[in-house]
Symmetry: C2
């Protein structure tokens, strides 16, 4: 089965995927030429075509790869902390992963291209929003079992908390509003959301 002749270099394939993801997110798909990808990857154009049938296929593969390797959750946090301590921690972790340039750029790219490549949208969801939501939902369920909270629908409650923060942050960043131009500082807003959440789900 092993092909005769020189084997395809997996390293080069990875270099190509990296360069593609990097440039596509930074400059946009249409504005990036394959020549640029080749140069950034330190590889010849033909090698790209040895590995991927077309630019579109490279786009797909590039995004999917980034999604796999990004897969972030919050599983390493201390799930036994009381909600007053846990939620701000979780939020902080979450926010900082959204405020950085690279995740934002990836978000932008997925938004624009997921219409033509539905799998990409799903992969993104599975690698980002979904695990984070599920992770928080698990915490909420456990805290409820410990009688520290009274959450009936952990998944929806998690979504509600995360999206209230995420929605604001991402909207502001993507629309390009500077911190100064925003109606209120992000940190106060996160505090506000957290307090409100704790009030709504406090044990009776």
């Amino acid at each position: 089965m092993a092909g005769r002749g020189r084997p395809r270099s997996d390293e080069k394939r990875q270099q190509i995927l990296n360069a593609a993801a990097e440039l596509f997110t930074r400059e946009g798909y249409e504005r990036t030429s394959l020549e640029q990808v080749a140069e950034e990857a330190g590889v010849s154009k033909q090698t790209i075509y040895n590995n991927f049938p077309s630019k579109e296929a490279l786009l797909r593969a590039g995004i999917l790869r980034r999604c796999e390797e990004a897969l972030i959750a919050g599983e390493d946090l201390d799930f036994t902390l009381p909600p007053q301590a846990f939620l701000p921690l979780f939020a902080d972790r979450f926010i900082s992963s959204l405020t950085e340039e690279k995740p934002l750029a990836m978000y932008r790219l997925v938004m624009t291209e997921s219409k033509r490549h539905p799998e990409v949208g799903i992969a993104f969801y599975d690698s980002g929003p979904k695990p984070v939501m599920e992770s928080l939902a698990r915490y909420l369920a456990e805290a409820t079992a410990r009688r520290e909270l009274a959450v009936e629908e952990p998944l929806m409650a998690a979504a509600q908390y995360l999206f209230s923060i995420n929605g604001f942050t991402v909207d502001m960043a993507l629309v390009g509003l500077s911190e100064a131009a925003r109606p209120f500082p992000t940190s106060s807003y996160v505090d506000h959301c957290t307090r409100c959440f704790l009030r709504a789900y406090a044990v009776a």
Copy 2:
């Protein structure tokens, strides 16, 4: 000052802006050629260049125009309704304006292009998120004055409510998740958010 000779037709200008906004949102900026815009507008290519110095300028003008004419809020709702009735009404109105194809497409376009055209991001914010938030905040303040709610920070509370719904809805739509693939139905989620909000801000 009135120029001699044939005056420029404002009608044609509008046709061009419409066609541009339509095509740019539907197909994407890079994937739309000026030939297409000219045809869709029923105008010759040169007329486009009579009205706009470049494709980029046309993009800007097209988005800005759509933002102006879109400017939606909820000012026509009955602000004297009790929160239990008002919030679902407001949410419904809000959601339906987010679920339609056209606003979503515009959102996508603004997301991608606002980096190169900051004014566009600001115009979008001023025409959509901002007035809606302010409108709801006004209601919350009034309801608090009537002792039907106890909201201390109306603007943040409004943002929190709207973004928890908006964040989820838009994320799902943009990422392309069908209603079936979502973790829970949108309508249950909106109910959930509303109930939680009312609980958190109920009068003591």
